[in-house]
């Protein structure tokens, strides 16, 4: 029987993979995708907790929708930034984006 713990485990694994991608990937697009992965891990948790603990409230589902909307906007802004940087530096490697330092 698949229960709450399985979903939470799935969410944790997804979040871990996403975090690894954010910290380790050099490609800006990949980092953006990893962020999406982390957001969706959170969505999984929201929906699962809503379903198993408070089915009547629907609060978790509502938040999941919000996160999807915000994530769409964030991807739009993020991609725009990356394209803008790419136009200047001909690169999407994060190691090249180190102008703001000491």
């Amino acid at each position: 029987m698949i229960g709450l713990n399985h979903y939470l485990l799935l969410g944790t694994v997804l979040f871990g993979i996403g975090a690894y991608g954010v910290f380790a990937k050099r490609n800006a697009i990949a980092v953006l995708m990893s962020i999406e992965l982390m957001l969706n891990a959170v969505n999984v948790n929201f929906v699962a907790i809503n379903r198993f603990l408070q089915p009547a409230a629907g609060m978790g589902q509502l938040f999941a929708i919000f996160v999807i909307v915000v994530a769409a906007a964030e991807v739009a802004v993020g991609l725009a930034l990356i394209i803008s940087i790419y136009r200047h530096r001909k690169s999407v490697d994060l190691n090249d984006f180190n102008l703001l330092k000491w």
């Binding site: 975090a19 910290f23 994060l94 190691n95 180190n98 703001l100 330092k101 000491w102």
Partner: protein
């Protein structure tokens, strides 16, 4: 009934001059004449009240005293009163202070004529009179210290009255600083008294101390209290300020630096005699300091050329006499000499002021000469004062000086007696050296001198009369009434000794004769004497180089201290501040490498922080739950 009223209103004596000071300072200062009138009126009423009090006190039993006080502050282990104590000692001081202050203020009308600062001069005179009267009427050490400092402040203000002159400013500062040293010891002594006895009231202390036999405690108290008189009465080694204090107007020198304030130290010893007399070592110290000061100052006075400085060293010498009298236990004689000295030294200073006034500020005796014909009243009153100071019978100084010598001799201090006699001889010599040079002899540039106005000669004549007559109350002709009233347990009084009287009179006459031979008859050349003992002459002339020694001390110790403090400031204080700044800077320089521009490394740090935060929060939550 009236008598009781006089005592009840005695607090007005110091308060009236204070009121005059306030009035002048607030309203009258624009009209110098009204300021002077206000000041003189106040001291006049105080004088009148003092006379009434004297009549009351000396009309009654010797042991009579009147005390009235209000509690000023109280806390565990300390209570300080503000009050008045009137006993024969106070009554004598009241009379002396109000008489001289009144005469000096009247005299100042003439002397300060036309000075732009007259109004403030009279204001200072008033506040001085009020403080001095408060001092002599104080009923406890706390109060006496307050007024002690007030008269010191007045002295500072009046020495530096002509503050346009750098020498006057320096003298004022010197007087103030020197007095601070003495007052510091005095204050410590008072604090000791509070700690040990819990009270500062003279009467209560006088009852407690004779039964308190712990010399190890009483000795430091007595010595510390003696610091006060050493500073205020200008005893060696703090005597250096008094000669310089002559920078003030001459009436100020007469009132403050000859007759009253400098005598406050002697008065304090008399007032606190019940403490000093319990400690033989302290008494010996007092006697030696006094005797040494008397000799030191007399030798310096022998060769000075400034009329006021000669008188200043003479004052030092006579104060030394009084202090010595206290030290040998002859408290009555000391107070007696204080009283007579106030009159004749006040007279001498005022007469000197009259000369200086007539000569437009000339103070060098060698530039005077032949004044006797031009200024007869000034000259003859000065001579009377000098005779009284020299101790020629039957003038006032004879009786009091003789009593001091008698006290030293009969008390077994033969050395001090001989020293005192030598000083008496020198006193007569230097006073008449001054007189023969300045008043008789050949006129040198004093042709246009003229007698001073009556407002100045009047006080001179009155003081001359007092200089002649004030000694009789302590003479055997009047049964020594002075000693009957002014005495205290522990003070000794000796029967008259005709030999001592004769010897001291002869010595005084010899001194006058020698001065006559050298300076009038010129049978002995002063120049030859000078060449015979050049070293001695220069030591005297340069005041034993004490000022130079203090300057050297200041140079060595103060400068060394300054260098140490400079090092502390530069290395330790600046070091701490600069070190802190360097620490901040270097930590910033090191930590900035964390800001490497790599977004992902920031993200890792954020993550680490978040995890730590969560761990902490969750730990708390779990602790609460479990």
């Amino acid at each position: 009934m009236l008598i009781q009223d006089v005592m009840t209103f005695s607090w007005l004596i110091p308060v009236l001059p204070f009121l005059a000071f306030a009035l002048i300072g607030l309203f009258l200062h624009r009209w110098p004449k009204w300021s002077a009138a206000c000041s003189i009126a106040a001291i006049g009423v105080s004088f009148f009240l003092s006379v009434l009090i004297a009549v009351e006190i000396f009309g009654g039993d010797p042991g009579r005293a009147f005390e009235m006080s209000v509690r000023w502050l109280e806390m565990p282990g300390l209570k300080v009163d503000m009050g008045i104590l009137i006993d024969p000692l106070t009554a004598v001081m009241l009379l002396v202070v109000t008489t001289v202050a009144l005469l000096v203020q009247i005299y100042s009308l003439g002397y300060m004529e036309g000075d732009p600062g007259r109004a403030s001069y009279f204001a200072y005179q008033s506040i001085f009179a009020g403080s001095m009267l408060g001092l002599v009427m104080a009923s406890n050490f706390g109060q006496i210290f307050v007024f002690w400092e007030l008269v010191g402040m007045c002295s500072y203000l009046l020495i530096g009255f002509w503050f346009g002159r750098p020498s006057a400013r320096d003298a004022a500062i010197k007087a103030f600083v020197t007095n601070r040293i003495g007052d510091f010891g005095f204050l410590l002594g008072i604090l000791f008294l509070i700690i040990v006895f819990g009270t500062l009231n003279f009467g209560e202390l006088a009852a407690l101390i004779p039964d308190y036999h712990n010399l190890a405690v009483l000795l430091p108290i007595a010595v510390l209290l003696f610091f006060g008189p050493v500073g205020k009465s200008a005893q060696f080694p703090l005597h250096v300020w008094l000669p310089d204090a002559m920078e003030g107007p001459t009436p100020v020198s007469a009132l403050i630096h000859a007759a009253t304030m400098v005598a406050a130290g002697v008065y304090l010893i008399a007032r606190a005699f019940f403490i000093f007399s319990q400690v033989p070592q302290a008494m010996l110290l007092i006697a030696l300091v006094g005797g040494f000061t008397a000799l030191l100052a007399a030798t310096i006075a022998l060769v000075q050329n400034d009329i006021k400085r000669i008188l200043a060293y003479s004052t030092l010498s006579q104060l030394g006499y009084m202090v010595m009298a206290m030290g040998v236990g002859a408290m009555t004689a000391g107070m007696f000499h204080l009283r007579t000295h106030a009159f004749f030294k006040g007279l001498l200073f005022l007469a000197a002021g009259s000369v200086i006034h007539a000569l437009h500020g000339e103070q060098d005796i060698w530039k005077m000469g032949g004044l006797a014909k031009k200024m007869p009243i000034t000259t003859w009153t000065f001579v009377i004062g000098a005779l009284a100071l020299a101790g020629i019978p039957p003038l006032a100084g004879f009786w009091s000086k003789d009593e001091i010598l008698l006290g030293a001799f009969a008390g077994g201090y033969t050395g001090l007696y001989l020293l005192g006699s030598l000083v008496a001889f020198m006193t007569a010599f230097y006073m008449f050296r001054l007189i023969f040079i300045a008043f008789f002899g050949v006129s040198k540039g004093a042709e246009q001198a003229h007698e001073s106005p009556p407002v100045m000669t009047g006080p001179l004549v009155i003081l001359a009369a007092l200089s002649i007559g004030a000694g009789f109350v302590g003479s055997p002709w009047m049964g020594n009434v002075f000693g009957l009233y002014i005495s205290t347990p522990g003070a000794v009084h000796h029967p008259v000794n005709p030999t001592i009287m004769a010897v001291s009179s002869l010595l005084a006459l010899a001194g006058i004769g020698l001065a006559w031979l050298i300076y009038q008859k010129q049978a002995v050349s002063a120049e030859k004497l000078r060449q015979r003992w050049p070293a001695l002459y220069h030591v005297f002339l340069n005041k034993y180089y004490v000022d130079e020694f203090y300057a050297w001390l200041g140079k060595v110790f103060v400068d060394a201290g300054a260098r140490v403090l400079e090092w502390v400031d530069l290395k330790i204080i600046n070091g701490a501040v600069n070190g802190l700044a360097y620490l901040t800077g270097s930590s910033g320089r090191t930590l900035r490498y964390a800001v490497n521009g790599q977004v992902q490394s920031y993200a890792i740090w954020v993550m680490v922080g978040l995890v730590l935060l969560l761990a902490t929060v969750l730990k708390t939550v779990f602790t609460v739950l479990v």
